[in-house]
């Protein structure tokens, strides 16, 4: 049996992460192995807990790719800004969100019946192309956190309804499509949509940070 790597596993200090990162930078041949041993299972579990609607195998793949990539290019992580585990969580969330968006985009191509206004690419972007790169990063992180938060609190069709609410969608049709009530009369559709919107707004007010409940 091999010697255990130094450092505690759960609750490991940032200091241990920093030391391991320094060894990766120095080219220590055993450091990549220790990185995987310490963080791979924990990162996979963390991803599964936060992205529970995604395939666990996809999430494991994301964690493996991230760990191997960090082992090969440790300079992508700056220990002065963030603990190693927090960095891994952040990077893994971004990759998982991207993977999910990729899946959603593929699904959208397979069922091209959504109204144009539902397509993110068809709407105006709030971010101008010459925006400050730092601001773009902050916005991307904020989007990522919002996505995670929505996933956690609004499973199933509610997730898509909340997204429409937050985006300020006022037409009944997109909501009715998600609710699967297009066959009902216009009046009944409107009633049911309003009921669902009221319920979700209440839930949002109870749960959401102020910037989410404004929509």
């Amino acid at each position: 049996m091999h010697q255990n790597p130094p450092g505690d596993h759960p609750g490991e200090t940032d200091d241990a992460g920093r030391k391991l990162h320094a060894r990766l930078l120095a080219g220590d041949p055993t450091a990549p192995s220790e990185l995987a041993e310490r963080y791979l299972d924990r990162l996979t579990s963390w991803l599964c807990a936060h992205f529970h609607r995604m395939d666990p195998h996809d999430l494991e793949e994301i964690a493996i790719t991230l760990i191997l990539d960090l082992a090969k290019r440790p300079q992508q992580y700056d220990p002065a800004r963030l603990g190693l585990e927090s960095y891994l969580h952040m990077a893994a969330s971004r990759d998982a969100a991207n993977a999910r968006q990729g899946g959603a985009r593929r699904a959208a191509y397979e069922t091209p019946l959504d109204p144009v206004e539902l397509s993110e690419r068809a709407r105006n972007s709030l971010v101008s192309e010459d925006a400050d790169p730092a601001e773009l990063v902050v916005q991307r992180e904020a989007t990522m956190m919002t996505t995670m938060w929505l996933d956690e609190h609004f499973p199933g069709p509610d997730r898509a309804l909340v997204q429409l609410l937050v985006a300020g969608e006022r037409h009944t049709v997109p909501y009715a499509k998600i609710l699967g009530i297009e066959h009902l009369s216009e009046l009944d559709q409107r009633r049911m949509v309003n009921r669902a919107k009221d319920r979700l707004k209440k839930q949002l007010r109870r749960l959401a940070p102020p910037d989410l409940s404004d929509g």
């Binding site: 091999h2 010697q3 055993t30 192995s33 191997l68």
Partner: protein, 117 residues
């Protein structure tokens, strides 16, 4: 396989000798449970001044014999060279076959059958 990791360096050995996890672990002198961690070590660079120290570091960490590890790496390198040479030979033969002039009266291999009128 990624050449950055020991796994990539040992792959030609595994392929050529048809090793499974258990037999590779046995050759390395580690437990099958430790094998993935051994293979995730960074490949020691033969051209680097730290080659010997790097091999010893891996050996110490996983309780391996450093000389055995070097011998396995050498064998894997030899197989990789042979595989590369084989691939080059195959490529040469393919080029030779493609460039061969057809015998007189025969159509060139690339000429497809003529359309029926």
């Amino acid at each position: 396989m990624d050449p950055f990791f020991l796994a990539g360096a040992l792959l030609p050995l595994v392929t050529r000798e048809g090793l499974d996890d258990a037999s590779l672990a046995a050759q390395l002198g580690c437990t099958p449970a430790d094998l993935p961690l051994v293979l995730l070590c960074r490949r020691p660079d033969r051209a680097s001044a730290t080659f010997r120290a790097d091999v010893e570091r891996i050996a110490t960490r996983f309780g391996l014999d450093a000389l055995v590890l070097v011998e396995l790496l050498n064998r894997a390198s030899a197989y990789a060279i042979v595989a590369a040479a084989d691939a080059e030979d195959t490529g040469l033969w393919l080029v030779a076959a493609r460039d061969r002039e057809p015998p007189e009266g025969e159509p060139a291999p690339d000429d497809g059958p003529e359309d029926e009128p």
